[in-house]
């Protein structure tokens, strides 16, 4: 077996050193009838055979980059520079552990410090942590953090929050007995959470651009929340939008969480991604997850360590701010490398290209008889209303190798009034040919 360096001679010699005759002498604490069960799985195979097995599964899927593709709603198809993937595959990054021995993990620690700085700058906040699993779990953790800060147990969520984020947050908050209020989902971005905020509310969670693509001004929500002593949690699922839009920090958010996948991370069918988590300085010690901080070594040289670990599970156990341990280190590296290549100049250009692609797509689709573009302000994603069931249309177009978007029924299976909605995303990889193909195919669909 190519991954196992011991040979039989080694094993025999080692057993002698240990003083046992058979390997099962080391398993004598296992109940006899449970030892060495029959495992009904195939035997080992070579590298070539593995490639054949997995290659056969891969070709049954339609890759996003293989043709017209307009799916977003929380994960986006972007171009990733080749440098990113090369760097994250370096042994010293790929095959290292959490930096528990900082003297020989300065590489990891320094990029985490750079990552934290980039996330804080982009979101307009003071501090950011070293990553969460993804945007949805970061959102749930933010609600728990608001509970710790305000000592209140009522979570108010905007209807424009991605319904999966809302589900994850609800599940986590209800575990601790909190009340969770979700405003109705309104595709036009109107109707708000303002009336739902009361003086028992711990936090208000609002996403911008929202799940339908509408850009939300968070300033009035922040004011309303703060008036009642609640925190505003801003959610960003398309982080490239921060290259074009006012940061949540500027609009008064207390905690900003986001999905960082769009910068540097492949689609991966939903994971691994990288959760962004940023907040105000004064809330630092209530944050979940790892934090990297600057310090000096015994020779006075600058260096980095994991810090404020008294918040964390391995020290605080049942009093920890979160149970999170492993996070998304390598995806944070992807984000940081891609962001370092972009810089502010590149990110602004990238954002402008995304907005342009979405505007062009919306213009083309609004010219299709029967299609109504619902969103009035948007970044790289918008919602349209179709004269018939959107999921059926999506399937018909998929058969023509056009992946049209996310039908409303996929995100709100219980809400029949959303069945004709289609959420359409366009990015820098969307070509004018793709847009024409989508518009033409829709013309034939009804």
């Amino acid at each position: 077996m190519r991954y196992l360096p011991l040979n039989d001679a080694d094993r025999t010699q080692m057993r002698e050193t240990i003083g046992i005759t058979g390997i099962d002498d080391l398993f004598e604490d296992v109940p006899k009838d449970a030892l060495n069960p029959v495992i009904d799985l195939p035997l080992h195979i070579g590298e070539l055979q593995v490639e054949q097995v997995l290659g056969a599964l891969a070709v049954k899927n339609r890759a996003a980059g293989a043709g017209p593709f307009f799916v977003g709603a929380g994960a986006y198809k972007h171009h990733v520079p080749a440098t990113v993937d090369h760097i994250i595959q370096r042994s010293e990054f790929l095959t290292s552990y959490t930096p528990y021995q900082p003297e020989i993990a300065q590489g990891t620690l320094q990029y985490l410090f750079e990552f934290q700085t980039q996330v804080a700058a982009l979101t307009g906040m003071d501090v950011a942590n070293a990553s969460m699993y993804d945007g949805s779990t970061a959102c749930a953790e933010a609600a728990l953090m608001a509970k710790r800060i305000t000592r209140r147990g009522r979570v108010v969520m905007s209807g424009g929050l991605h319904p999966h984020y809302a589900s994850v947050t609800r599940m986590n908050s209800e575990l601790l007995g909190d009340e969770v209020v979700l405003a109705p989902a309104t595709p036009d971005g109107k109707g708000e959470v303002l009336d739902l905020i009361d003086d028992k509310t711990s936090c208000v969670i609002v996403q911008t651009p929202d799940v339908f693509g509408n850009i939300r001004d968070l300033t009035p929500v922040a004011e309303a929340a703060h008036q009642k002593g609640a925190l505003l949690i801003a959610v960003v699922t398309e982080v490239v939008s921060l290259g074009a839009l006012k940061s949540p920090g500027e609009m008064g958010a207390d905690i900003v969480v986001g999905e960082g996948q769009s910068i540097g991370v492949s689609l991966n069918f939903g994971g691994p991604y990288v959760g962004l988590f940023a907040t105000r300085q004064k809330f630092t010690r209530q944050m979940p997850g790892r934090l990297c901080g600057e310090t000096t070594d015994a020779a006075g040289q600058r260096g980095y360590v994991l810090t404020l670990s008294t918040r964390e599970q391995h020290i605080r156990r049942d009093k920890a701010t979160s149970n999170i341990c492993t996070n998304s280190g390598l995806c944070a590296l992807s984000f940081t490398v891609h962001m370092s290549l972009l810089g502010e100049t590149g990110l602004r250009q990238l954002a402008a290209l995304n907005h342009e692609a979405a505007c062009n797509t919306a213009d083309a689709l609004s010219a299709v008889p029967g299609v109504k573009v619902i969103s009035s302000s948007y970044f790289n994603e918008f919602t349209i209303h179709l004269p018939r069931n959107a999921a059926e249309v999506v399937e018909e177009l998929a058969a023509k190798d056009i992946i049209a978007g996310v039908p409303g029924s996929r995100l709100w299976p219980e809400e029949g009034d959303k069945a004709n909605l289609l959420i359409v995303a366009a990015t820098e990889v969307t070509s004018s040919d793709h847009i024409v193909a989508l518009a033409d195919a829709l013309k034939e669909a009804f």
């Binding site: 010293e92 900082p102 964390e312």
Partner: protein, 524 residues
Amino acid sequence: MSMNNQGRPTSPKTGAAPDTSTHTGNKALQIEEALIFETGHMSGTGVDLPAPKSKTNRLGGNERVKSFGLPGLSEPEAMRHYVRLSQKNYAIDMGPFPLGSCTMKHNPRLNEKMARLPGLGDIHPLQPVSTVQGALELIDTLAHWLKELTGMPAVAMSPKAGAHGELCGMVAIKSALEARGEAGTRTRVLAPESAHGTNPATAAQCGFKVDTIPADETGRVDLAAFREKLGPDVAGIMVTNPNTCGLFERDIRALADAVHEASGYFYCDGANFNAIMGKARPGDLGIDAMHINLHKTFSTPHGGGGPGSGPTVLSDALAPFAPIPYVVHSSNGFRLVEKREGPASESFGRMTAFHGQMGMFVRALSYMISHGSDGLKQAAEDAVLNANYVLARLKTEMTPAFEGSCMHEALFDDRFLENTGVDTLDFAKAMIDEGYHPMTMYFPLVVHGAMLIEPTESESKRELDKFCDALLALAKAAKAGEADKFKAAPVHAPRRRLDETAAARKPVLRWTPPEGEESSLAAE
């Protein structure tokens, strides 16, 4: 047995080091590297993007006006920056990484190649299921392997890491109690004092109270003490097996029977599954839920702190409460169950936005089918053999925490350092100078100055012998009175000991420009 509350030293000790200074601060292959914010230009960028053709603006008056002040690097600058940083890291590809309970095994590059196939890496979680049949089949296949290896009837694939899997299992337990109408009364969860910190943290996150069970003299759960703690308010027990002392809980069935008799559930922390894969199945031992760390047992790279992946196997009693979404096989292909209805009507909801860590699923399956049932069993046996070989070789100079053999990790305490002036931290830092990543130190908490060594099956005998020789030499040096050298260590690493106390006292968590310099990066 009492908890080790001594904590570990966090401030650097001073000690003499030879003068190895250079004019540049660089040391041959070790190049000092500034932060990107100190070297990049605001106008710089390492991407060439076309200019937008139109000026259409539908941002609704929410345009960003303020600069966010992040510099960009050209491609050669970026490459050099990150390569230099990488050279300040230790990695499994360089040498043994014997962190106990972390299972740092070889990460095959075939797995990386497979995860990057466009049909697996470049697919979206919300594209039509008819266009991702291969992806769903892959998840279904991996689920089958996990169920077969654990002897459990169901597996929730979406948890994103080990602690997330713990949460999945404990929420399933809470949901089962709710279905029985007992969630309000069964509020106590029992966990051994040797447990990973994530166990009590997870229980607390579910709203349970955590009650600690002591260990017995052999390093295992004290069965009598456990039985005494059972009662009508107990929701369940969380036990790691093999446990964090590197020992198999030989009373595991008695534990399971006792908790089931008390109408509670048995959560098993599967962090150490590498010791028993193919050798014993949790399903045969009476457990109700267990997470599997694909980033430990099944070789997906740890990546400096993640991503992980924590599929969680569930018993028949807990399976109805499994999180959505999940994959089912029907007559016309694979389907995703994404709403709470039919068989999923009792599901407790969503752990995460999408379907879990697909990128890790591909790598883990690639690893598993490479090994096959025979190779996985051999890997577990080699992992246990390697750990016991280390134990046998080191016990002449170091002090094993418990008598007898171990599973996949060997646990030592600090008795052998008594009166040497060297403590566990010093010993670990001295290992760095010898070219090794230290073992897990000061964990588990039940052992004084713990040193937990997990070599995994990836180490050759030759590599293990060199490693043991190095540790034996260090133990002898400590006993010979060379404490000063230990206190000064490491002196050959990119940094000497770092001041963690200072870092925590006045946290600096991001770069800010030096005083007097204007930058929009400054915190608002």
